[in-house]
Point group: C2
Chain length 411, copies 2
């Protein structure tokens, strides 16, 4: 394409389109798809946890017996039986306020993020995000025109004191502060879980400064043992019903290829999200929704949860043991009790992006930390997903990786 054509092409797209940036994780995941590489990169659930056979039976039965419904357009709100089961599921986690009127089924929780961003954010509005945070969430907020301001994530959760200071500063600059986007449980990318006290403090700050809390909770049920049960969602706290927009997903407890997530919020907001979805895609796949609803009705999801928890617990334990065995001084990491991710901080002078080529050449892949930070920091950090590889390969991969990212040659 000529330079002139390129310029015209650029001029033909909207300001919003120019704010859209490729998701660096997904770009990287494609690059690293080689089966020889031990991959800690793609943060996707293991296919070993998918109940292929049972879902095949359910899908075939639905298509045979209810084809006229399952193959037809459906309501934008979602398949009603699925919404009912979503409400039950939230109640079991102590989120008591939503009923069906508060729920919109979405095409994965990524669509929920997108709809929430479009409905809540005007260009220039400030949205606070954790340092680090999920790049897909950042992409949706960014595309809606949000000004993203980072809040430090401690081992206990986001730093509420810093949040308050940032709110005051943004208001002082005449900015409209709108929301905080948080993944309090087994966070992607850090693996950190916010404490109960941190959750209460965040809700308190949000209430005092009229911020909406966008609580993204795809991993909350993937805890490794009963002792590792996380605190209830922020949405379960007193006063949360008017303040929290809660996002859930079946991607990690059933499978992500069936694109089924949801958002639960105040009725007036839910109606707005529904309108946004109507323009976005009319309705989510009726087959996907119906298969998930049937899987829930048959108890398939609950029956498999213990196995899924053990599956990831075993892999996380292997990774933590390997890190303890092979990580040199100056390298620190998180100790998740659920989810799919461990976060590693490297010595200050190491650039994880620069180490990646050598790591891949040695047969190990990971995601460098910088793209998860909206403030330009995080170069000396990386994300390790323990979901894809088995324990033996995890140990091998960590043993190979550590010397490459330890930065010894420069100390």
């Amino acid at each position: 394409m000529s330079a002139r054509h390129e310029e015209r092409a650029e001029a033909a797209v909207s300001q919003e389109a120019l704010r859209m940036r490729p998701n660096p994780i997904r770009a990287l995941s494609k690059l690293l798809a080689s089966p020889e590489v031990i991959s800690f990169a793609g943060g996707v659930p293991s296919p070993a946890t998918f109940p292929n056979e049972r879902l095949a039976e359910i899908a075939a039965r639905l298509l045979r017996d209810e084809g006229a419904r399952v193959l037809q357009y459906g309501t934008t709100r979602g398949v009603p039986d699925l919404a009912t089961r979503v409400v039950e599921r939230m109640r079991r986690r102590a989120v008591a306020w939503p009923d069906e009127a508060n729920v919109l089924v979405t095409s994965g929780s990524q669509q929920a993020l997108d709809l929430v961003a479009r409905v809540l954010v005007d260009p220039g509005d400030v949205v606070f995000v954790e340092l680090p945070s999920y790049v897909g969430g950042l992409a949706s907020l960014y595309a809606a025109g949000a000004e993203l301001v980072g809040v430090r994530l401690t081992d206990e959760g986001p730093d509420a004191t810093q949040l308050e200071e940032s709110v005051a500063r943004a208001r002082g600059e005449g900015r409209r502060v709108r929301a905080i986007y948080t993944i309090p449980t087994f966070q992607n990318p850090s693996g950190i879980t916010a404490s109960g006290a941190s959750r209460e403090r965040l809700l308190d700050v949000a209430a005092r400064y009229d911020l909406t809390i966008i609580e993204d909770d795809p991993y909350g049920e993937v805890y490794f043992s009963d002792d590792a049960r996380p605190p209830s969602p922020i949405a379960a706290l007193s006063g949360a019903a008017d303040r929290v927009v809660y996002l859930g997903s079946f991607s990690k407890i059933l499978c992500p290829g069936l694109r089924v997530g949801w958002v639960a919020a105040r009725e007036d907001l839910t109606r707005r999200f529904e309108l946004a979805k109507e323009a976005a895609d009319l309705c989510s796949s009726i087959l996907d929704q119906s298969v998930v609803a049937s899987a829930l009705a048959e108890g398939l999801v609950d029956a498999r949860l213990p196995e899924i928890r053990s599956f990831y617990a075993e892999r996380c334990a292997a990774m933590l043991a390997a890190l303890a065995a092979y990580a040199p001084d100056g390298v620190t990491w998180t100790r998740p009790t659920g989810g799919l991710f461990v976060w590693v901080d490297l010595p200050e002078h190491v650039d994880a992006r620069e180490c990646l080529d050598a790591a891949v050449a040695a047969g190990v892949a990971y995601v460098p930390g910088a793209p998860f930070f909206v403030d330009g920091s995080g170069r000396n950090s990386l994300r390790l997903a323990f979901s894809k590889e088995d324990p033996v390969r995890i140990a091998t991969g960590i043993r190979t990786l550590m010397p490459i990212v330890a930065g010894r040659e420069r100390t």
Copy 2:
């Protein structure tokens, strides 16, 4: 909700969210779901055309044999085999320029509309639309902030002379003119098909004024006989490759509950659409895409097309015959040769919205015409979908309906 709470709720949503309007057709369709009513309202394909059994076999086989792929995340671009078959399909309709690099698979063509609107339109940009036009397309454009300007639709296609005048006027007002949204073949809602000459003239005007043509073509393969084959898409004309964004769908030739459509465009735009989709939902249902790809590979779609064409041809013929028999003087209608819709113009003084209650009370439903017009006109018109009812009920429904909407009592 108190008035004060309502006000706060309103203040909490973005300007974009305030531009989102409920789709009047879908709102109405819900209202008219009663099985006793003869419905010409919902413009949805008939479940009688869905190959339930074959799709059940395909879905079960895919989930059993390829569960690790079909239940996992996929690329944003779409399942590769599906993109290849989409390219083949466009080539058979003389749209020769797209290859896989020009194709993005979407969650139905509604999502394609939404992504195209978000990428091409900045708030205040002028987009020209047909009078009448598809409300779902209008909703996506409106949500992206477009200023929608109507262009009269004649029996031959959109009025190019009026379009040129409107472009000049908008430019004179300092507006940026961006695109024209057109459904040239078996249009929803009018049933009109633009002539070959009209298509060429539209492309010529678009080229001279640097407008993008958004060509929405969900009905192009649903012609009633070989004699009724429509002209090739605008995208097939010489010079269209840089100018036309082409939207296709499997909703009417297979089923809409599997949410599978596509957009084909210049490579640079397709990459933008892909970025927008990544933030919107990461990827479309992998199961839906894979089922459609297999259905195409097995020849299921092509094998069923003759039956689908006869199905709708028979129903359209019944409706046109009933209109000829029962429509009073002053009522005129279109004579579609494909698609799902007939358009009816009533005497000037009749308001089709006001007649609807009486019609439903008498057991017949339709969609009033006004919501399809962006210029406030169309009150004395209505859309009839002949896709849902059988020929006998179509005749009964038209016989019942005509006296109600003829407006005789006021002449």
